[in-house]
């Protein structure tokens, strides 16, 4: 069994984790085009390189980030998303009359 190091819980079997996709910068959902939003939600770069990815530890409900080389599957580092995200992201939206 592969072992992944969870920043909160320590080393755990890979079967306890769920892959969450590449880390990408979210466009402003209020102003971006449909194409930009689809690119953010659905399309991946799939580069053969070190990629920062979201991973989820299922048993603790904890999302974290991992730097993984997608060719060798070597995980270089895992870290708490608090290193990159300092503030809660609020999704303000205006009601549109129906």
């Amino acid at each position: 069994m592969k072992i992944l190091h969870c920043p909160l819980n320590g080393p755990r079997n890979i079967s306890e984790f769920i892959y969450g996709g590449e880390l990408k910068t979210m466009p402003d959902p209020a102003t971006c085009s449909d194409r930009e939003w689809a690119d953010y939600v659905f399309y991946h770069d799939n580069l053969p390189a070190v990629v920062t990815e979201w991973w989820f530890h299922s048993a603790s409900g904890y999302w974290f980030l991992a730097e993984r080389h997608t060719l060798t599957d070597e995980v270089l580092r895992t870290f708490d998303p608090g290193e990159l995200f300092r503030q809660r992201v609020e999704f303000a939206h205006a009601e549109t009359p129906s």
Binding site: M1, L8, N9, E16, S58, A59, S60, Y62, G82
Partner: protein
Amino acid sequence: MTTQNATTGLSRPPLNGLHAERPRVEWKQLGDAEIPARFSGPTDEGFRLDHCGLADLSALPRFGLRGPQAAAALAERGYRLPDEPNRCRIQDDGSRLARLSSTEYLLLGSLTDAGQRVSMTAQDWATLPPGCYSLPRQDSHAWLVLTGASTARVMAKLCGVDLDAAAFPAGHIAQTSVARIDAIVIRDALGELPCLHLLVDSASAAYLWPALLDAMQEFDGGPLGLDALLSPAAA
């Protein structure tokens, strides 16, 4: 013999239906629910308590809180907080406060007061202070407790994390997979008696309870009722 249906208006912990199928189960009220008082004779259960027993504490109150102000809100209520994530601290009244991440906490009611303090705290926080979010655990999670000297050896059959007391001392928490079910495992002690609390998805508990009993067979383990947990050996 009373049955779980004898008294109406009580809550129904998730495993009571399974317990009711056992031939000699006797029931007792704990808080607002019934819980098995014993599954077999006191001699058997006394042995299991010391060596390898499994009890269902799902009738006791439990409540989760998270958010940037969760620690301050708990401290204000007089709870003593664990210093770091994945640690659990025993409170003066016997309730347990588990810290599951930097901003998430889980309160477990005490057998001593049938969880009244935790229950009152949860009721008082029907409207939460700013910066706090509630995580109700009463219906989402079943609460099992594995007691006795063989707990770590039983868990070694079901879990990838080393839960031996040397590697996983009292007050430590492992959030991991147990028999393929996500579980919060807390090492604790009832008096001098080592035990592990297991909090698992309540719908999966009907699978985990017999799976644990099966794993316990080679250690002569079996189910325990509330009477054994309240016996002087576990005080």
